[in-house]
Every structure is written in C-alpha cells, then in structure tokens.
Symmetry: C2
Subunit: 271 residues, 2 copies
C-alpha cells in the first residue's frame, strides 16, 4: 500500500440509499459487515472526514485547519483518548463506526482496516472535518445532479502551512450546467462548514489539477458540451497534508468512506 490515497471508483450512479438512519449505518459499520461508500448513504446528514492524531500535534493541526478553513472546516474535536463524538453523534464510536480507515505511520499509509479499536491510543485527538457530500441532498432537491461528473483531484495550489503541516490543496471538481452552477453556488454558500461556496469555476489548469490521477476513480472523459468545471475545496486535503508532514502516527477515514453524524445538514448551515 503506497502513501498515495487511491481507492475505489466512486463516479458511478447510486441505487437508492441502503441506509437512511445514521445510527443504523454506524451500527452496520460496527458489526463489521458493511463496506459501503459513505456518499450515497443517509442523505441529508452531515458527513465528515476523520483525522485522529497524537495530542502533541493537535494544536498545530488545528491551526493548519484554521488557516485552510475552506478545505478543513472542523466540526468537532474530541478530548484526548476519547472516541465518542459527543456533539455530533452521541453514543457513536470513532474506532468502529466508519466503513474503512487508513492507518499512517511516518507519513506512509501502512494499511486500510475496518476497525481501529486495537490501534487507538490514549493520546489521540479526533478531528471531524465537514465534507461536501453533506450537501448532496440539498443540491438534488434543487435540481443539481450530484452523482456523475465528480472527481477528487490534487492541485498545485499550496495550502497555507502550520508547523509541520503543509502540502497541496485537494479539490472536488464537478461538471455542471450553467443553471446548476448558479444554484450550487447559492446553496453551498449556506454551508461554510461543509466547504461552502466553490473556490474556482472554469479551467482546471488554473489550479494545476492532476486530471490524470484523480484520488478515486478513473480520469475524466472528454467533457460534454455545455458543462462548466466547478471546484470546491475537499476534506481529503488534511489527509494529504498529514502524509506530507510524515506524522508519526495517524488514523483517518479512507477517502470516500467517511463518518456520518446525527446532524442534519439543513439545520447546521452555520453551527
């Protein structure tokens, strides 16, 4: 397993969600039976990336998140050693309730596992970072398709460093119609803690997007006429940055396998 995030294809259309209740989705993960992509499950609930780091690095990492707020909107910080996200999902267990985790040692992704109970440490601080998948249902209700034409891409845009944390911004590129672009900009602006408004519209080269190597899925095909590339900051950014920082030990959600909270997106536009 290389340090490069590289997972399953996630650009295919979904069936109806198998889960609508975050509690049931998390219980499924906990039972070890479930390895679903998070994105199409529990529509309307806030989804997060998890980053768990030793306490000694937690302040620097949190400052990094503040300096790169569009990519790293922090929704909850757990007490050191605690694995219950008391504010966003009381009773949940961050060690078991995600479908898949990535484990990093000294910046190398050493394994992907479905349960990190045996790896959890008393000094780990968990950060839950809002995901733009949280807004999918709101977008769909407004007529913006969210299933096709969507890729997480690394860019050549540097994040603003903090301590050891540095590296490139990761973005989600979507291809939208002009009306979808307008509606999506309006709507996502209401959710600044799930990446908010787009950061760029148009030519991917302006951001130095690595179109040949999306973080999940295949490279984009030729773009159909009438669509416009639209870019949001992406919560995979902190994972890529923590890898670049060669953090001694870190557990994250595997990209596209996030944590689903009990928070309803429509109600927590601005927490």
């Amino acid at each position: 397993m290389s340090g490069q995030a590289k997972l399953v294809r996630n650009n295919d259309g979904p069936a109806a969600p198998l889960y609508t209740s975050p509690r049931e989705f998390r219980a499924g993960c906990r039972s070890g039976q479930l390895s679903l992509l998070t994105r199409n499950q529990c529509p309307g609930y806030v989804q997060c990336a998890l980053v768990a780091l030793p306490k000694a690095l937690a302040f620097e990492f949190m400052v990094f998140c503040q300096r790169n707020q569009k990519a790293c909107p922090v929704l909850e910080v757990t007490e050191p050693g605690q694995y219950e996200p008391k504010r966003s999902a009381p009773g949940a267990d961050l060690r078991t309730d995600l479908p898949l985790y990535s484990v990093y040692r000294n910046g190398v992704r050493v394994e992907d596992v479905a349960d990190v109970t045996r790896l959890w440490r008393d000094d780990l601080v968990g950060f839950l970072i809002g995901s733009n998948t949280s807004c999918d249902l709101a977008l769909q209700r407004a007529g913006v398709q969210t299933e096709r034409y969507r890729w997480p891409l690394t860019t050549s845009v540097p994040t603003e460093p903090a301590g050891a944390f540095h590296g490139p911004l990761v973005v989600t590129m979507r291809w939208l119609t002009p009306q979808e672009l307008i509606t999506a900009t309006q709507l996502t602006s209401r959710f600044p803690f799930n990446h908010g408004a787009p950061i760029h519209v148009g030519d991917p080269a302006v951001l130095g997007c690595d179109l040949a190597h999306p973080l999940t899925g295949s490279p984009p095909p030729p773009m159909p006429a009438g669509l416009i590339p639209t870019f949001w900051a992406c919560s995979v950014t902190p994972q890529v940055v923590a890898v670049a920082a060669k953090v001694e030990f870190m557990i994250t959600s595997a990209p596209t396998y996030g944590f689903i909270t009990d928070l309803e997106t429509d109600k927590v536009g601005i927490p």
Copy 2:
C-alpha cells in the same frame, strides 16, 4: 479595576470616521496618541477582538472557540511569541496597534494599558476573533442603522466548555425595524466569521440577558414601538470565559477597542 468588563459608553452616534485606512489607524495607536473606540473607524474592514494566552492553554482555548463558533470565529492564530498577524495585517504589531488592552492575571483584570510591549511573552499565542462591527458598513449601505440601540450583554446561556474554559455567552442586542431585521439577517449570514446570522429574535428574557448591566454603556431605555430586539453572538465572550477560567496570564483587546485588519469585509465573507 474589577474583573468585570466595564468601559465607556458606546451607543452614541458617530461623526464621520477619523480614519479610513487600517494602516493609519494602527500607526496612530502605535504612536500612543490614539484612544478611539474602534467601531466607527475604517468602515468596511474586518475588526477583531484579540485574545493572547500562554501556549500551554492555546489548544484548549482553540477547541473552546470551535465549540462556540458563533461567538468565537477565529480569523488568525499567531505563532507562539509572534506579534505580527501576517495573514490579516502584514507588518502590524499586536502589542501596540490596538487603542486599549486589558491585562488579566489569574482571572482578574489588573490594568488597562495602551501598549503591551513590556508585557509580551515568548510563549503567548495571539488569537484574532472576528467582530460584528466588521459588518457595519455593509449594513449601513443596505439601510440598516448600526449606531443607536446596540448593547453588549451577558446572558444566562452557558457556552460549551473546553478544558478550563467555560462561562456565559455574551451577545450584542440591537433594536431593529422589521425590514432592518430581515435585511440584517440576510446580510450577516454571509459573514459567518464575523458572527454570522442572529442567534435569537424577540424577548431578551429567553437568553437571560442582563439588561441592567450592559458590558459597555448605560442600560437600555424603554424600547420605542415598532422595534424588535435582535441578538448576535459577541466576541467579548472569550474574554468573559477566560476570566471565569482564571487564566494565569492573558492580554485582550479592551471591549470596544479592537484590532483593525487589512481584510475587506465584503471580500472575506467566508475566508
């Protein structure tokens, strides 16, 4: 000097601003000649409260800010010992460029001074926390008066604690016409890092507001007919909370005497 914030009256209408350039305003503070309330100066620029704390407390304080995001939107965190806010005002000096500081020892406000150069320590981390005064020009342009009928009030609403940090929420109460209320809600929603949308509309008793003891100025007079009390979370909250935590050493902006950044409010709705 008691630990209770209690300063000059700030509810009277202003003349035209004496300063329109943040750089000149800060230079005036630095020269020691200036003791102006910040609110009416440099319209259109982001204004911040300053909280400077020892590094040992910085992570807990930052988690407190995350858990109370509406009251404590962090716009910049300086490196330990550094007094230049490189992101929001390159070249500025947080030790001299505010009109007035409050110095706290073990939770007691021991003095208010115009310069904290002699008090600055190598372990201090400076937090700049967005203020709703940042939005005044945007509100005025939209026909919302910002000068009269405005009070910072303590409430009986507890903040969500983090470590030693706990205490009541502080709010800004404004009395607005119905149209002003609607416009102000629309407009301030665009500025989630300057307290965003209101947190309450109507009866001050719902929040347990201490109307008899506003943090600055005189108690409100009888409310004119046709106005509606509207409440925003206030950046004096972290000061009150740090006092309750009996922080060993802390320097803050004195209430109503903030730091004026080079950031233009209209451009930094969501940083």
